[in-house]
Amino acid sequence: MKFTSKLAFAASALALSVSAAWADSGEISVGMALEPPHLDPTSAAAGAIDQVLYANVFQGLTRFASDGSIIPGLAESWTISDDGLTYVFQLRHGVKFHDGTDFDASHVVFSLDRARAEDSTNAQKALFADIASVKTGDHYSVIVTLSKPNGSLLFNLAWGDAVIVSPESIDTIKEKPIGTGPFRFVEWVKGDRIELERTPDYSWGDQVALDKVTFRFISDPTAAFAAVMSEDVDVFPVFPAPENLAQFDADPRFQVLVGSTEGETILSTNNKLPPLDDVRVRKAIAHAIDRKAIIDGAMFGFGTPIGTHFAPHNPAYLDLTGNSAYDPEMSKSLLAEAGLADGFTTTLKLPPPSYARRGGEIIAAQLREVGINVEISNLEWAQWLEQVFRGKDFGLTIVSHTEPMDIGIYARPDYYFQYDNPEFQALITELNAEAKADKRTELLHKAQTMISEDYVNGYLFQLAATGVANAKLQGLWVNAPTQATDLTGVSWAE
């Protein structure tokens, strides 16, 4: 199988020709709720790092396109051996790091080996688990050998955690990132902003229109609203307060961007904690929840109801919301059936995002209607990770699983919601080894149905990508297949 991105190449050639006309056409300031803790995407889970740097400063062998598909990045083409164990990547020529060094195969080997090393601090080390070795072919080719076939390798290599870094910059990467992207790092005023500027002589890939980008960190939703309203920021790709979007929509100065994300927002349930280990109780919870009220109340209407752990925009999605239609009466009778006619009490531990905090209040009220008393406690992420995710000390929690194609987590019995179904685990093993698209779809349908009918978790809605931007900005990503703010194609309209 061979894939060459002629189209992309052509597009970049075209862009090259018009870039002169777009010169000095502008600066933008991008609002973000969270500030990166540091600037090394390969050693932290913080999405904020990718939001600033992915595709802008750092590039990987492959990359996500705005529709979620995988396209060539620093590798302009690749070949895969028939047994699916050997990948040979042909690298782009003439690529330079921002410090002036030439990019070649050794950088790829360095970056991938660093990510999978024993003492690696890569937050997604599992992505590289199946890689047996990475070797240079020649100056511009890399050979990756797998220990077993993995249909997701190209997808995995597109993650921000797999970007190519230069060995010389490793010591200072957290403060002063050096990548190969169309923008280079200028300054970071901690607590306030990060500034990027266009890489001079950028000749590999799509040409960019912007000269200067300022990411400004505004954690407070009110402040974010005010900043957009007063046009202090030009775009807020992930606007933290959906309640304000209607106002922006009504204002001709702004455009509201509503797209899809990979975030399945679920009412995670501790499948090992009585009485939640009883499927009838989980089903009762599922039927007690009114998704529309949650989407309206917590998200101000933004979000797509889901009935299983799968993104609705994915072609393999099955609409299973019918399995858990809002039916409090049924809920009550299910509880009675489970011997809990008088209801029961459980905890609901909520991480900071407003979907969780607001959704939690609504769900608590809805569960109270059927006799389930829920004690809310608001946690910070660190506490949530410790208590809920690692400690498994919870009854219910609300969280949005933003990793793409992550139905596989249901095959991990030690995962925090502790769903342990050998049948499902076998299904996923089969899926991982399967390469045929139609067969994969069938298996995925089966998996979605199984977790939906086991009522593993309460499936609430797919998080919408809700952003707001100046009406004159064009080329922004509407969907969010990964956490990124790709500014490559962004420009000001005349």
Binding site: T222, A241, N244, D296, G297, E361, A365, N378
Partner: protein, 288 residues
């Protein structure tokens, strides 16, 4: 012919209260809010626990006097119940401050300059060195947010306030002759503190208590505002403000009413404190 001076007349309490504008106004406001809080125990116009999302963000009018919030809850009812939270947190916190601070202050005053005095006063300085909000943040970071921890944080900060106040007042009382008389009568320090010192600083404590109470309400609002106070679904003014903040541009009533509730309660308490001081404090001075 009498050469003795006439004993001073003691004005009737009722007359003093009505003649003090501050006190009357303060009492009126406080009665309204405490009354509201009490009534909310048995009745509120709407149930604050049940959500009515289709009716969300209604402007003030009928039947929702102060409108509804983003979950369709009745703001007026939430303010009534929120008064309860504010009052409860502030009362208990001031109680902690008084309950611990006053005995500490009295103990320190028994022998000024003693090791005990130094220990207590340096301890006080230490607590004072931590700005109140920092104490709150540290406590909630350790034990998690919640009304109890907010109470603890505000309470801890109140301890040195009362310790200092009661020590200062007790020090001057210890030099008074009636304390000497009690010592001549063989009474010990604990008994004197309880029998002679405490009743004489009570007025001062009441006045300060009122002021700390109002500060407690402000502090509770501040903590709830940053999410460290009472947790949902318990309504709290500070959290109502925090939640309303993103909607202030299209639903200003959500920010207006809880804010006014805080302002009025604090104002009422401060006015009452001033009024009480006018009545209670000069008497102490006159007695000297």
């Amino acid at each position: 012919m009498s050469l003795t001076t006439a004993p001073p007349r003691k004005p009737s309490l009722l007359r003093t209260i009505t003649s003090s504008l501050n006190l009357t106004l303060g009492l009126f406001i406080i009665v309204v809010f405490f009354g509201g809080a009490l009534i909310s125990l048995v009745w509120t116009p709407f149930d604050v626990a049940s959500l009515d999302i289709p009716n969300k963000l209604k402007a003030p009018g009928l039947p929702h006097l102060m409108g509804t919030d983003h979950f369709g809850r009745d703001v007026f009812s939430m303010i009534l119940v929120g008064a309860r939270t504010s009052i409860a947190v502030a009362v208990v916190a001031v109680g902690i401050g008084m309950g611990l601070g006053v005995p500490l202050g009295l103990a320190a005053a028994v022998r000024p300059g003693s090791f005990m005095d130094e220990l207590i006063m340096r301890g006080n300085d230490l607590v004072f060195a931590f700005p109140a909000l920092l104490i709150a943040i540290m406590i909630t970071a350790v034990f998690g947010p919640g009304a109890v921890n907010a109470i603890l944080a505000i309470g801890i900060f109140n301890i040195p306030v009362f310790a200092r106040l009661s020590r200062g007042a007790a020090l001057s009382l210890w030099t008074r002759d009636f304390v000497l008389s009690a010592r001549v009568a063989g009474k010990g320090a604990v008994r004197i503190s309880y029998e002679h010192i405490l009743p004489n600083i009570l007025n001062l404590l009441i006045v300060q208590g009122t002021i700390q109470f109002s500060l407690g309400i402000l502090a509770e609002a501040g903590l709830s505002y940053v999410g460290l106070g009472a947790q949902p679904p318990i309504p709290s003014w500070g959290r109502m403000l925090a939640e309303s903040q993103t909607m202030i541009s299209f639903a200003p009533h959500l920010a207006l009413f809880p804010g006014l509730a805080i302002v009025f309660t604090v104002l009422g308490l401060n006015l009452m404190g001033d009024g009480l001081r006018d009545i209670l404090d000069p008497k102490i001075r006159r007695e000297r």
